[in-house]
C-alpha cells in the first residue's frame, strides 16, 4: 500500500499490462482465422458475411468481435470513390467554351476546374523546362500547332549546360561564397558529364514550379491563420493529419482528379509541402515580439504595410526555414511522383530499381541527392544571409554578379556555337551531353554488387534467414495474435494514464477508426515493422548521440551528417539496401532503421545540448563524475526533447515502411501501391493513408501529452 501511494503511475501501468495480457490469453484465436494474403475483389467467398450501408455492399470475414471488429467503415472507401466520381462526372454540369473546337461543351464544374488547373500547371512546367532544355509547347500555348507548322524556326532553343552551370555557381557565390560556389560547379559538371543532364533539368523544372507555388500558398495560409483564429482552427486538424500522412497515399485521389503526369505531381507536391510551410510561417509570426508590432502600428503602417514591411521581414528566418523544408519535400516527391508519370530523375530511378539495375539507380539517386543538397544549402544560405546595405558601392560592385552572369551567357553561347562545328558526329557536347554518351559507372557498380553477392552470399543469406525466421516472424505473429479488444484496452489505457480522459478519448477514436476499417491486420503488420525499426533506431540514435555529445566538434559533425542524410529523398535509401539484401523484408527494415536513426540521433544531441550551462556548472561544482552528471542531470533534463525525437523517429519509420511497399511488404503500404493501379483506388488509397496517419497520430498524441506534462514539471520552457 505504501508503495502504491508512492508510485501511483507505476501501479496503473502494471494493472494495465495485467489486463492486456489477461485479455490476450483469454481470447483464443478463432479456428478459421488466417492472415489473409492478397485477395481479389470480385471473388465471392461463401464464408464471407456482408452488410449493406448507404447502398454499398461490404463483404468481410466475420470473427468474434473481441478478436477482430467487423469492418463497419468498409463502406467509407467505396463511398469516397463514388462521391469523387460523382463530383467529376455528374455534379453541376455547365456550358463551357472550348477553344479548340470553337463551340460550347457541357462539362461538370469540378472537371472543368481541374482541367483548367491542370493546363495551367502544364504550361508552367513546360515553360521552365523549355527554357532549360528547349521545346515547342510554350510557343504553342500562345499560338497554335498550325502556326508552328507554318513557322518551323519557332522553337525555344534551350540553354547550353555551361550557362546553367555558370548561373548556379554565380548564384551560390552570391549567397554564401567560394565554398558553396565550387560545390555548385562540381555538382553541375558531374551531372553533365555523367549524361544525366536532361532528366536532372526535368526534375529541376518540376521543383522550380512546385516549390514557389507551395511557398506562396503556405505563406498566405499561414498569414491567414495568424490573423484569424477561425482559419487556424479549421486548418489545424488537416495540418495534424498531413504531418503523419504517407506521401504515397495522396497520389491516389490526385490521379482521379488530375490524371497522371508532371502537373498532377506538382499538385500533390503542393498538398504535401504546404502544411510544413504553414506551420513554420505561423511559428515565425507568433515569435515576433508584440512591441515590434506596436512599433509598426505607431509608425503609421496600414495593415498591408504592417504585414509586408514589419511582420514578414521580422519572421524571415522561420519563413525561410519553411522554404528549405518545402524544397526538401519537393525532392522527396519528385521521386515518389514518378509513380504517376512525372518525368525526370525519379522516373529513371524507379525504372532502374524495377529492372534491378542497381548501378543505374545509384547514379540517378546520387544525382538527385546532390541537387537536393545543393538547393538545400543554397536556400539555407539565403535564410541566414543578411541584406547588405549598399551605401557606398560603385555601380560595378553593386552589379558585379549580374555582369558575371551576362558574360557567362555570352561565353556559353559562343562555346556552344563553336562546339557545333567541332563535334561533327551530331552531338554537341558543349550544348548538352546526351544520356547514353556520358560517362557511366553503372557497370562498375553492378559488378560490385555481383561481387558482394558472390563473396558474401552465404553470410548475407544466413543473417537474412536468421533475422526473418528468429526475429521478424515471431514478432509479427505476436502482433497479429493480439485480439482487437486487448489492443484497444492497451492503447486507451495508456492514453488515460498519460493524459487523462481527454487523451484516452482521442486515442480511442483514432484506434477505432483503424479497427473498424477493413485493414486492421495490415495495420498491425505496419505497426510491427515500424516498431522494430523504431526500437533499433532509438538504440543506435541515443547511443551515437550520447557518445558524440561528449565532444563539441564531434557533436557538430554528427549534426552536419544528419542534415545531409535528411536531404536525401527518402526513396534513395532503398538503393543500397536492395544492393545488399535484395527483395526481402530485411531490406525494408534496414532502410527504415537508417532513415529513422537520423531524427533519433539529432534530437538526442540537441536535447543534451539544451541542458542549461548553469546546471552543468552547478553539477560539476558539486563534484559529480562524468557518468553521474550524464545520468543524474543531463538525461533527465534532456529526456522530454529526446522523446520528441522519438516522435519524429516514429513518423520517419512509418514513412519508410510505407515506401518499402515498393520492395514488397504485406502491410498497408502494399495496399496503397495496389490502389495506385486500380481505377477505383482513390477511396481505398485515401482511407489507407488516413489509417497510417492515425497510427502516427496515436503515438504523437501520447508522446506530446507526456512531454508537455514533463516539461511543465521540470519547469523548462
Amino acid at each position: 500500500m505504501e508503495l502504491m501511494k508512492k508510485y501511483p503511475k507505476l501501479f496503473q501501468w502494471l494493472f494495465l499490462l495485467i489486463v492486456f495480457f489477461a485479455l490476450c490469453f483469454a481470447i483464443d484465436v478463432p479456428e478459421t482465422y488466417k492472415f489473409i494474403r492478397g485477395q481479389a475483389e470480385f471473388i465471392k467467398d461463401p464464408n464471407q458475411s456482408s452488410y449493406v450501408l448507404f447502398g454499398k455492399e461490404v463483404r468481410y470475414y466475420a470473427f468474434d468481435v473481441f478478436w477482430r471488429l467487423p469492418p463497419l467503415l468498409g463502406w467509407l472507401p467505396i463511398w469516397i470513390n463514388d462521391s469523387l466520381f460523382f463530383l467529376m462526372n455528374e455534379w453541376m454540369p455547365m456550358e463551357f467554351w472550348n477553344e479548340d473546337t470553337q463551340e460550347f461543351k457541357t462539362r461538370p464544374l469540378v472537371l472543368q476546374i481541374t482541367r483548367n488547373v491542370t493546363s495551367f500547371m502544364t504550361f508552367l512546367i513546360d515553360l521552365i523546362r523549355e527554357i532549360l532544355l528547349g521545346g515547342l509547347n510554350t510557343i504553342v500555348a500562345f499560338s497554335s500547332w498550325d502556326w508552328i507548322d507554318a513557322n518551323p524556326w519557332a522553337e525555344l532553343p534551350g540553354l547550353p549546360w555551361t550557362i546553367v552551370a555558370a548561373g548556379a555557381t554565380i548564384l551560390a557565390y552570391k549567397l554564401s561564397g567560394k565554398g558553396l560556389a565550387s560545390f555548385a560547379a562540381i555538382v553541375m559538371i558531374y551531372i553533365s558529364i555523367f549524361g544525366q543532364w536532361k532528366p536532372s533539368m526535368q526534375t529541376l523544372s518540376f521543383i522550380l514550379v512546385a516549390a514557389p507555388l507551395s511557398f506562396i500558398f503556405g505563406l498566405s495560409l499561414g498569414i491567414a491563420a495568424f490573423k484569424s483564429k477561425r482559419v487556424e482552427k479549421a486548418l489545424y486538424p488537416i495540418l495534424l493529419v498531413m504531418q503523419t500522412m504517407p506521401q504515397y497515399a495522396v497520389l491516389v485521389p490526385a490521379i482521379v482528379l488530375f490524371g497522371v503526369g508532371d502537373h498532377a505531381a506538382v499538385i500533390i507536391t503542393m498538398v504535401v509541402a504546404v502544411p510544413p510551410m504553414i506551420l513554420l510561417t505561423l511559428l515565425g509570426l507568433r515569435g515576433i515580439s508584440p512591441e515590434v508590432i506596436e512599433a509598426g502600428k505607431m509608425s503609421g503602417c496600414t495593415n498591408w504595410q504592417l504585414m509586408t514591411k514589419v511582420l514578414i521581414p521580422t519572421a524571415r528566418r522561420d519563413i525561410l526555414i519553411g522554404v528549405n523544408q518545402v524544397i526538401m519535400v519537393c525532392f522527396s516527391m519528385a521521386v515518389i511522383s514518378a509513380f504517376i508519370g512525372a518525368k525526370g530523375l525519379g522516373f529513371n530511378l524507379l525504372l532502374a530499381l524495377n529492372q534491378l539495375n542497381i548501378g543505374l539507380a545509384l547514379e540517378a539517386g546520387l544525382c538527385i541527392s546532390l541537387i537536393a543538397i545543393l538547393l538545400d544549402k543554397m536556400s539555407l544560405a539565403w535564410a541566414n544571409k543578411q541584406i547588405d546595405y549598399f551605401g557606398n558601392l560603385t555601380f560595378f560592385q553593386r552589379h558585379k554578379n549580374t555582369f558575371f552572369f551576362i558574360t557567362a551567357i555570352i561565353l556559353g553561347i559562343l562555346f556552344a556555337y563553336f562546339g557545333s562545328f567541332y563535334f561533327k558526329e551530331g552531338y554537341n557536347y558543349l550544348f548538352e551531353v546526351p544520356h547514353n554518351k556520358g560517362i557511366s559507372t553503372a557497370d562498375f557498380w553492378n559488378k560490385g554488387v555481383d561481387w558482394i553477392f558472390d563473396t558474401f552470399f552465404v553470410y548475407i543469406k544466413a543473417f537474412n534467414t536468421w533475422l526473418i525466421v528468429d526475429v521478424l516472424q515471431p514478432m509479427r505473429a505476436l502482433y497479429l495474435r493480439m485480439p482487437a479488444v486487448a489492443t484497444l484496452v492497451l492503447v486507451v489505457g495508456a492514453g488515460y494514464i498519460i493524459g487523462g480522459i481527454r487523451s484516452a478519448l482521442v486515442v480511442c477514436g483514432l484506434t477505432l477508426f483503424i479497427a473498424l476499417s477493413p485493414w486492421w491486420d495490415r495495420a498491425l503488420v505496419t505497426t510491427y515493422m515500424a516498431t522494430f525499426g523504431v526500437i533499433i533506431s532509438c538504440i543506435i540514435g541515443f547511443t551515437v548521440g550520447t557518445l558524440c555529445f561528449q565532444n563539441k566538434s564531434s557533436a557538430s559533425f554528427m549534426l552536419g551528417v544528419c542534415d545531409i542524410f535528411q536531404t536525401f529523398p527518402s526513396f534513395v535509401y532503398l538503393i543500397p539496401v536492395m544492393m545488399l539484401f535484395g527483395i526481402t523484408d530485411t531490406s525494408v527494415l534496414i532502410a527504415v532503421i537508417v532513415y529513422a536513426t537520423i531524427p533519433a540521433t539529432r534530437y538526442t544531441i540537441e536535447g543534451l545540448r539544451s541542458v542549461p550551462t548553469a546546471l552543468h556548472d552547478a553539477a560539476t561544482m558539486s563534484g559529480v563524475t562524468k557518468f553521474q552528471r550524464l545520468f543524474k542531470i543531463e538525461f533527465p533534463l534532456a529526456f522530454p526533447h529526446m522523446m520528441l525525437g522519438l516522435n519524429q523517429t516514429i513518423v520517419f519509420a512509418l514513412f519508410m515502411v510505407i515506401i518499402g511497399a515498393f520492395i514488397g511488404t504485406e502491410d498497408l503500404g502494399q495496399y496503397i501501391l495496389k490502389a495506385l493501379s486500380d481505377k477505383k483506388g482513390a477511396g481505398i488509397g485515401l482511407t489507407l493513408g488516413i489509417c497510417v496517419a492515425f497510427i502516427g497520430l496515436i503515438f504523437d498524441n501520447l508522446i506530446r501529452t507526456w512531454v508537455g506534462q514533463r516539461k511543465k514539471h521540470l519547469g523548462i520552457d
Binding site: 515590434v292 506596436e294 502600428k297 509608425s299 503609421g300 503602417c301 521581414p313 521580422t314 541584406i387
Partner: protein
C-alpha cells in the same frame, strides 16, 4: 493655459469576454475583485487627467499596475473599454482606421522598453521607416533620418544593424525613430528600464537635453520612482489600475495622498526633490544674511551655502524681489527630519 493636448475622462480598460457588458452594469463603480471572479481583469480603472502642451507627465507604478495599458489606450494600440480620450480636442475612440493612421503618422511617436527595432533594417533605415510608410521619397526620408542620427549622437553608425549595437545605442535609435516624423505627442514606455544603471543615467540626461530643445508633450512610463522624480513635471502614481495620486513631484513627497504613495516617498531624499519655495517661510525678518537664494533652486544645490550662514537667508523670485526667508535650521529639519516616522 491653452487647451490640453491629451485629455482622459473616466477611461476604463477591462480584459475579458464580457468586459463591456460588465462595465455597463457596474455604473462606473468597478471593483477589481468582483470582476476577477467573473473572468475579467481590470487594467485601467477610471483614469481622468489632462496633459497640456509641452508638459511631461510621468506615469509611475509597479509591474501590473496598468500603466502600460493606460498608455496603450491613449495611443489606441488597444481600445479602451469605456470613457473618453481626446487628442488635441479630437475624440480618439471615434476615429476610423484611416484617421487613426493619419494621426499616428503625423502627431504621435512612441519609444518601447525592448527597443522594438526592425532587425532587417539598418539604423538609418529603421529611423526612416515611419517616413517611408508615410510615402516620402527614399532620398528625402534618408536625409531626414540622418539628421535624427546626428540628433541622438549616433553619427558613423548609421549603417549598422540593430544587433550590432549596445542596448543604449539601440534605444537611441528607438528615440530617433519616434522623433522622425516630428510628432507633437511623445509616448515613452519604460524606455530606459532595460538599460544598465550608468547608461540609464546618461540616457536620462540626454533625454532632458532633447526635451529642453524640442518641448514635446510627453507621457513617460516608468517603474522607477527616482527616474520619475528626476524627469517629471507631474507624476501620476498608479496601483491596480487606479491613479492614486497625480501631482508635482514636490507635492507628492510632501503630501502623499495615500498610504501606498507614502511608502514610495519615505526613502526619497527630500533635498533632491524639494525646491526652496516648498520649504521657505512666507514672512521675512529684518535680520537677514547677505546671501540670497532663488525660490526655484533645489535644496540640495544650495544647502551647503545656506548652512554656512548663521542668520536667516532671504529667498528671491525671478525679478530679484524678496518673497520670503529660510532659516538654516529648516534645511537641517528637511534633510534629516522627515525620515524619522
Amino acid at each position: 493655459m491653452s487647451d490640453p493636448i491629451i485629455k482622459c475622462e473616466g477611461v476604463y480598460k477591462i480584459f475579458g469576454e464580457n468586459a463591456k457588458k460588465m462595465l455597463d452594469e457596474s455604473n462606473g463603480n468597478v471593483d477589481a475583485k468582483t470582476f476577477q471572479e467573473n473572468g475579467c481583469i481590470v487594467g485601467v480603472n477610471n483614469a481622468s487627467f489632462e496633459v497640456s502642451k509641452g508638459e511631461m507627465l510621468v506615469v509611475m507604478g509597479l509591474s501590473g499596475s496598468g500603466k502600460s495599458t493606460l498608455l496603450r489606450c491613449i495611443s489606441r494600440l488597444t481600445d479602451a473599454t469605456g470613457g473618453k480620450i481626446f487628442i488635441e480636442g479630437q475624440d480618439l475612440l471615434q476615429l476610423n482606421n484611416k484617421e487613426l493612421i493619419d494621426l499616428r503618422r503625423n502627431k504621435m511617436g512612441m519609444v518601447f522598453q525592448s527597443f522594438a527595432l526592425l532587425p532587417h533594417k539598418t539604423v538609418v533605415e529603421n529611423i526612416a521607416f515611419p517616413l517611408q510608410v508615410k510615402g516620402i521619397k527614399t532620398e528625402d526620408s534618408i536625409s531626414k533620418a540622418m539628421d535624427m542620427v546626428k540628433l541622438v549622437g549616433l553619427d558613423g553608425r548609421e549603417n549598422y544593424f540593430p544587433r550590432e549595437l549596445s542596448g543604449g545605442q539601440q534605444q537611441r535609435v528607438g528615440i530617433a525613430r519616434s522623433l522622425a516624423v516630428e510628432p507633437d505627442i511623445w509616448f515613452l514606455d519604460e524606455p530606459f528600464s532595460a538599460l544598465d544603471p550608468l547608461i540609464r543615467k546618461e540616457m536620462q540626461d540626454e533625454f532632458l537635453r532633447l526635451q529642453e530643445k524640442l518641448q514635446k508633450t510627453i507621457m513617460f512610463i516608468t517603474h522607477d520612482f527616482d527616474e520619475a522624480l528626476k524627469l517629471a513635471d507631474r507624476i501620476a502614481i498608479m496601483k491596480d489600475g487606479i491613479i492614486e495620486q497625480l501631482d508635482t513631484p514636490a507635492n507628492i513627497v510632501l503630501n502623499p495622498a495615500t498610504e501606498y504613495v507614502r511608502k514610495f516617498t519615505e526613502e526619497v531624499p527630500r533635498e533632491k526633490v524639494l525646491l526652496i519655495e516648498d520649504v521657505m517661510d512666507g514672512s521675512t525678518t529684518d535680520n537677514l544674511s547677505d546671501l540670497k537664494v532663488s525660490k526655484d533652486e533645489i535644496i540640495e544645490d544650495v544647502a551647503e551655502k545656506i548652512l554656512t550662514q548663521e542668520k536667516t537667508v532671504a529667498v528671491i523670485d525671478n525679478n530679484n524681489e524678496i518673497i520670503g526667508s529660510i532659516n538654516p535650521s529648516k534645511i537641517i529639519n528637511t534633510v534629516f527630519g522627515g525620515r524619522k516616522k
